[in-house]
Symmetry: C2
Subunit: 231 residues, 2 copies
DNA sequence: CCACTAAATGAATGGCATTCATTTATTAGA
DNA sequence: TCTAATAAATGAATGCCATTCATTTAGTGG
């Protein structure tokens, strides 16, 4: 990642109206780091619907086709964003707190980061870690945490994948409307479900948070029993 | 759902080339059931990238704009497909087998159905159940199963949501390439992760299946402890 | 000095969901 | 029974989107 500041970070000399003339500029306007941070800015301002190659180019004060000198597709941009977000996931508790506390901290942080970025989840799920250094770094720290906590080598990946699956699914829940389970006019024909929905209503936590806490505790308990020794 | 057979199910009288003349036909060509089954056929043949309004219209031997007399958007089509798929999820074990066996059967079936339809997961996660009768029916059966197994009313929704989150996340795993965790050239800098990946390699199950089994057992154990009485 | 490569512009391209005016047929109401 | 409203089709736009390509200009290595 070169130290060149991204174009959108310095003030446009003329209000962003004048065009660059064709041909290679003396100093490069674009680089991957700049594209990544512009994409993140766009997403936080307009959401993932607003993240188009055209909008990205405009923010970077560049023609859309110029982006393709640095990334090979929009999927590539999403990949850059995804890997950046992984560096925001808190793994600091591994090695500093007991295994179950560390997992809890990591999982909540991971869920909260991706709850704001659910359109990336399909990307992550299929992304080879080779192409994503930050992602790989996270897995390294977490793997070490599991090994040090006494997990048998051959179960570590499965355990992490199981937790991640739960985390990704739970990230979607956060974005769901609060009344998603309201049976509406069908209430009479679904008495058990309706009663369950009514029964859950009085809780202090948001529904998504209650479910995440419940499931995470169950997973930590169940997976923790695989350990050979305490930490 | 009218009993009118979908157009693509009867042989085209002329090889599918001749066009209908403009104006309302004597008997309706389209209905929601026909659109749903054509969408499913398209998905199974060409995947979700092949599911476009134009392709759907072509399969139904209709102009694309005709679809909008029956659905209000493509999202609406996805919703129809999603609700249909929910009727394929096996809930038959609830009431017929012990709670934990029933949950296991349901969860595997649910995961397997949506592993083939991951693009629908973002749709489901935000879909109000009111608009999806099959989905509602599934929740009703599962809720009753949990209540009868001794679950406290106010925890049932959270428990189901936790399981579903895990199921949706796990459905993505199934679609991931087998070597997604290969650290490649970064292997030296990530010794713990690399060792964990190597250690998991010898398993008989596919990686996604091993993780699903492990996580599901942990969840069933942990959630099962909430029950007041055995079944 | 020259060939090559890198990085920009700007003009296509083709696909996409969706809308609208129009046509025709059925249906409900006076 | 006529008539107005509604339902269901066509076909022609519309605007957005990612992506490609020819072209231009500027550095870089031999």
């Amino acid at each position: 990642m070169p130290a060149v500041p991204a174009a959108h970070q310095r003030p446009a000399p003329d209000g962003g109206v004048r065009r660059r003339r064709a041909g290679r500029p003396s100093s490069a306007v674009l680089d991957k780091a700049g594209i990544t941070s512009a994409a993140l800015e766009l997403v936080s301002r307009k959401g993932y619907d607003g993240l188009t190659m055209a909008a990205l180019a405009k923010l970077l004060e560049v023609a859309p086709s110029a982006l393709y000198n640095h990334v090979s597709s929009k999927q590539d941009v999403l990949l850059l964003v995804e890997d950046h977000l992984m560096s925001l996931v808190d793994v600091s508790s591994f090695g500093a707190a007991p295994w179950d506390d560390a997992v809890r901290t990591w999982a909540w942080s991971y869920r909260n980061v991706f709850a704001e970025h659910t359109p990336l989840i399909p990307v992550i799920a299929v992304l080879p870690v080779t192409d994503a250094p930050q992602t790989l770094a996270m897995y390294e720290t977490v793997s070490k945490g599991f090994l040090d906590a006494g997990f048998p080598q051959e179960r570590i990946i499965s355990a992490i994948v199981a937790l991640e699956s739960f985390i990704f699914g739970s990230a979607y829940d956060v974005t769901a409307p609060e009344d998603i389970f309201d049976p509406g006019t069908m209430a009479e024909s679904t008495p058990y479900f309706t009663a369950a929905v009514r029964g859950a209503a009085g809780t202090a936590l948001r529904a998504a948070d209650a479910a995440f806490m419940l499931g995470l505790d169950a997973l930590i308990d169940g997976l923790g029993s695989l350990r050979r020794e305490a930490d």
